[in-house]
Amino acid sequence: MKRADLISGIVLAVFGLMMLAFVIPLQIEQAPTGYVSPRLVPNLAMIIIVGLSGLLIVKSLRKAGAPPLLPDAVFSRSELIALLKVSAVFIVALVLFWLGTPLGAGIVLIAGTLVLLGERRPLILVLMPAGLLLAIWVLFYKVLGTAIV
């Protein structure tokens, strides 16, 4: 965890400095005379983030020899694989939605996640997307009287 702290501290400090040096000046115009600058609070927030990230780096370097409070492996393999699987399903569903088939996107989201998480029973793979989509249709189009898409 200390290594993760060190790396996250460095990443956040660099991010904060980039925001202060480039992004905030480019993305927020100066205010007309007499107004409080709209950059004030974003700049202050970033200065605090850079300062605290610096402290986080120093703290993790100073305690390099001490036993860790949290497990060294922050990201478990199974969770990272799950993250990839869920991301893949979302990408396909979004592409389908973009192509104009929201129903298809819904089916892929439900059935795709089921398949990638290990469900193989055909009845479940058919009934769950159908049941959920039907339930949402009834809730919004019939009970609440509104359209989603």
Partner: protein, 511 residues
């Protein structure tokens, strides 16, 4: 009182009671599922309330919050996996009871303690919020800015293991709140030319992404271990093992009273959260017991202590929200957007401008407590079966509902992109221990913090020497500094104790 009676009249209609029941039932189910807490449930449900009457909508959300706070005991008792972190002490005695075949007894005591704690704490909210709000009206922007800063520091320090990370998360929350068109000069800030960002980032997709989607990814990674725990529990055949006996009631009632008191006090203080309440209550009950060594082996008092405090925190955490407009917990932060959406802006002015709406809300909260008892008691066996559903079947349902909820916020794909972006941020912040609770609370109070900060600069004419004219602000500024040092010292001491304990354990195992 008049308003409250009319409030009951407004709430005790078939339509509103139906939505409260739906909310409580949904909340109970969500709470029973590990990782899906009240905040997630409310965040996902907010867009679905767009088309309901304000009272019914708020009642539904209150029902979800109360139901899931009570439902989280189900997975803690049956799976040893708390539905929310605040139910962790429930598992300490609830799970051993379940392993002894007394799962029904533990679940019933959990429900009764939850309902009593929740109901009494709602009465505390009703008694305290309005008088406190009267004092809050005397507070100016300089004082409010100092109070907000103190609250954020306090929450940042207590929400996670590391104060530094908590404060970084809070600063990020405030930073994200500045995105959008600035209200004084109308200059767009950090919008990157995207029109969708002109109004700022919406809380709903952000909360859904950070709370629900990121949690589902983690659950998906641990699906196997969660499913295998559910298969170990079986009920005893003795009727006494399935109900709470009179003797147990006598032992547990004082425990529930103490738990409710602790939970209410903890809830009123911004940032402490339900976990602190339930652990404090459990610890106090263990210390007060004649047989403290038996705690952790299946003591029914342990379940009563933890659950009463856990549920008492929720209504009490609305005291700072209603009186000062400061969300003391993540659920309060998320509820702000729902209340504003339905025409009720939390803060001291709501008691003057919309007393009837506030009374409706109180009536809905009290009714939700009673409906929670009915729904929980009659449906307990069914809810207990939910945890036997494999997690791989639950995750797709949650992901789908999250997408529907986020999409409905703006009816554009942009909300889904936001949800996914914040899901990734939520995943990394959970894994790296940056408190997403502090982030969300920073995001919610960010606009108010910025506004009062700007007003303070103008009132003080950019001169810090004028601050002595605002003693309350100075008091809170001093408190903020003291809090930083105090929490930092406490964290270091706890860390040192943990290291010593770990080293001791390692040595023992080596011997």
């Amino acid at each position: 009182m008049e308003h409250l009676l009319v409030g009951f009249q407004n709430v005790l209609t078939p339509v509103t009671l139906f939505w409260v029941t739906v909310g409580v039932t949904l909340g109970y189910v969500l709470g029973a599922l590990p990782g899906l807490g009240k905040a997630t449930g409310v965040a996902v449900a907010i867009p679905m309330t767009f088309y309901l009457q304000p009272v019914a909508a708020i009642a539904l959300l209150i029902g979800i919050a109360k139901g899931s706070a009570a439902g989280s005991a189900v997975s803690a008792i049956l799976l040893n996996t708390p539905g929310e972190p605040s139910s962790a002490p429930t598992a300490l005695d609830g799970y051993p009871l379940a392993r002894q075949g007394k799962a029904q007894k533990a679940l019933k005591m959990g429900l009764f303690a939850s309902v009593i704690g929740d109901f009494l704490s709602t009465l505390v909210l009703i008694a305290l919020a309005a008088p406190l709000a009267r004092y809050a009206l005397l507070i100016g922007p300089v004082e409010l800015c100092a109070i907000l800063l103190f609250s954020l520091t306090f929450i940042g320090g207590l929400a996670g293991r590391s104060m530094l990370k908590g404060l970084i998360a809070a600063a990020f929350g405030v930073f994200f709140a500045t995105i959008g068109i600035e209200t004084e000069t109308f200059i767009p800030r950090m919008t990157f030319g995207l029109l969708e960002l002109d109004d700022g980032i919406s809380l709903v997709p952000m909360a859904i992404g950070m709370l629900a989607i990121s949690e589902m990814v983690i659950q998906a990674g641990n699906a196997h271990s969660i499913d295998s725990e559910a298969e170990k529990i079986n009920d005893s055949s003795s009727p006494d093992d399935r109900r709470v006996t009179l003797v147990e009631w006598r032992r547990c009632l004082p425990v529930i009273g103490r738990g409710t008191l602790i939970g209410s006090v903890v809830g009123i203080l911004p940032g402490l959260g339900a976990s602190v309440g339930s652990f404090l209550s459990y610890g106090a009950t263990q210390r007060a017991s004649k047989t403290p060594e038996e705690f952790g082996t299946g003591m029914i008092e342990g379940v009563a202590a933890a659950e009463s405090a856990d549920n008492a925190v929720v209504p009490a955490s609305f005291v700072p929200l209603f009186a000062l407009g400061i969300p003391g917990s993540v659920i309060a932060a998320i509820l702000i957007s729902a209340l504003v959406l339905h025409g009720l802006t939390p803060g001291p002015m709501m008691f003057i401008e919309q007393p009837q709406m506030v009374a409706d809300l109180y009536a809905a909260m009290l009714c939700a407590s009673l409906i929670l008892l009915i729904v929980g008691y009659t449906g307990q066996r069914i809810f207990a079966q939910i945890i036997r559903v494999p997690i791989r079947l639950i995750i797709p349902v949650v992901l789908f509902l999250c997408c529907v909820g986020a999409y409905m916020d703006t009816n554009t794909l942009f909300s889904i992109y936001l949800m996914l972006g914040f899901a990734l941020l939520g995943y990394f912040s959970r894994k790296l221990d940056f408190s997403f609770v502090t982030f969300l609370i920073g995001f919610v109070i960010g606009p108010n913090l910025e506004l009062t900060f700007r007003q303070s600069l103008q009132i003080l004419d950019h001169d810090v020497m004028r601050l002595p004219a605002h003693p309350i602000a100075i008091g809170f500024a001093v408190l903020t500094v003291v809090t930083v040092f105090w929490i930092n010292r406490t964290n270091s001491r706890l860390a040192a104790q943990k290291v010593a304990l770990d080293v001791g354990t390692t040595k023992q195992s080596q011997i």
